[in-house]
Symmetry: C2
Amino acid sequence: MQFDKYAQLYKNALLDDVIPFWLRNSGDTEFGGYFTCLDRTGEVFDTDKFIWLQCRQVWCFSMLYNQVEQKTEWLDFAIQGAAFLEKHGRDQEGNWYFSLTRQGAPLIQPYNIFSDCFASMAFGQLFKATGNSVYGQIALDTFHGILRKRDNTKGIYNKNYPGTRPLQSFALPMIICNLVLEIEHLLDPVLVSDSIAKGIHAVMEEFYQPDLGIILENVTPDGKFSDSFEGRLVNPGHGLESMWFMMDLARRTSDQKLIRKAVDITLNLLEYGWDKEYGGIFYFMDVKGHPPLQLEWDQKLWWVHIETLISLLKGYQLTGDERCRAWFEKVHDYTWAHFPDPENGEWFGYLNREGKVLLPLKGGKWKGCFHVPRGLFQCWKTLEAISAKEPGVITV
Amino acid sequence: MQFDKYAQLYKNALLDDVIPFWLRNSGDTEFGGYFTCLDRTGEVFDTDKFIWLQCRQVWCFSMLYNQVEQKTEWLDFAIQGAAFLEKHGRDQEGNWYFSLTRQGAPLIQPYNIFSDCFASMAFGQLFKATGNSVYGQIALDTFHGILRKRDNTKGIYNKNYPGTRPLQSFALPMIICNLVLEIEHLLDPVLVSDSIAKGIHAVMEEFYQPDLGIILENVTPDGKFSDSFEGRLVNPGHGLESMWFMMDLARRTSDQKLIRKAVDITLNLLEYGWDKEYGGIFYFMDVKGHPPLQLEWDQKLWWVHIETLISLLKGYQLTGDERCRAWFEKVHDYTWAHFPDPENGEWFGYLNREGKVLLPLKGGKWKGCFHVPRGLFQCWKTLEAISAKEPGVITV
């Protein structure tokens, strides 16, 4: 496998295709912020502004500025998005709304804690790029708000009857693991190491079920299986994404045991979630093989595949496990054959089970400028590192 | 077309297949109520009890007792479900929860007004069957609760920011049109006629868009188009279902103009929602042709097809429009070729775009003992009526 050639492919896709696509099509020069509902050709088909995606795009351009090249164009693009968010994004208590109109009027209340997570990531990364302490303070205040709300993230919008079936969800501890690294420069080191320890414990001891070999989306407060629709739910892509967060954390302390465990779970989850008939990774599954609630269960989503590629490459980089390399080639081939749109640029997001485009969009309510560029960046850099240690052709 | 033979087919499916399937598999003899999560063979795969489906099943067996035959087995089955609901279904203010555990503990709070709608239908129909005034009072109290909540149906669980983009939704006025007929025997005649007039106005003047020829799911408070994800949404099956409610209302006053309009909308919606490539009716569409938010947009659902068959048959019965008959044959052929499961009984609920079974269940969180039996009953009776007026072979 020619790691340097793969590295080049991911780098070029990032810098020559995906980033120019968003620069070209998504800026709202009139009201600030970004359009994310872009059709096949990049044309805007809806102007609502979803806080998740506004924040993720600020993060993305700040990150590129910090990690790739200090391009003014990138930083300006991030700053204009942040200005829109700063002005319109929060309620009086500092909670981030879920969505706004094009002009910035609130549409959907702050019921979703991931709006706060992505806001903290965005402003933390932009603070790194600019040194502007206003951004740092927003990142920090938002992070402390997340910690305050973590036990009842939906607040008054929580529809669960208290006490009947308490469950904890995978998404928040998983994202906090990544978030504390993102804003480490703003946090007390004790808070960082404490949050990391808690996050690793939750992901690897509570949501990971050793007897099943997979990660569940919802478990009881003490990390046990709940035989209910929520408790049986598996989102293979979610678990696969979290494994590269685990590997990043494990590297900090050279925790070989954690690295090994994260690589094993990656391989298990992929074996489990791979569609043996049509290829690609399923979106949702029921761990007991019952019909899941999610009608979209068999669809193939962009983020699932690119996040999996990151975990496989990091796993290979850290362990040299040949199964990671072999799976990387297989998932790479599926991904590049199905998601990118060579005609108009960027990637399709939603394929049906057979791999045909289900929604001809490049961005919408949930897909924006985030997983594709972050994944391309992570794969590029990891492939480059592998290639630097083992130069030239390794295997073909 | 041999209407009497079709009538026999729908009657036999109802009485020899579908009703025995639910009698055999769904009763919870230990805690009362019904299991609705039934796999391909009728085996229970989850025991949660969803108020929508508990109520709809009480309604179904009461309706059969009232309309088909006074079978003690049917009435007892309805009464045991009602006893479970009476004991566990409501909070202290009389609002119906969304779901309960098998034992009856509340799981999801009363955020969904359709739980109340189906409860009122169920207890109204059971009151008709038994004369027990306790049932009548529950139906009536619940109905008045619905009227009180109609302007903010989700109450404290409403996540829309007040005032930014006020929209009214199609489902509630549509269901109230049907509900007032269901519990007419319990209501003041002025309230009935007033509710009917309001319902017809909402469906036919506000949600129906004459320039587009179709019915929208969400419109502005004054019945205008909103160019947003919600505003662009079309659910062809929803509109098609509502048209037989309109025809039932129009028959009461022999309103020929309303009948004609309902038939024309039925034909328009079907032309619009029919999948020209694979057959069947799409689940969701965007009226401007943009990608809808719903990832399941291209799936083919059982209720959409059986409800359409009812509207087509009633349309043919009331107008003799040959297009209704031709479309009935086409939708009938698709439906019977894809949904019923001759091996294990009852119908599959969810097909992918190509018509293959997507979830191998007979019941779940949203599919229970309701649309299939109600639809088979309505089609059987309508076909019988057509056949009685025009005996024998009419066209082939």
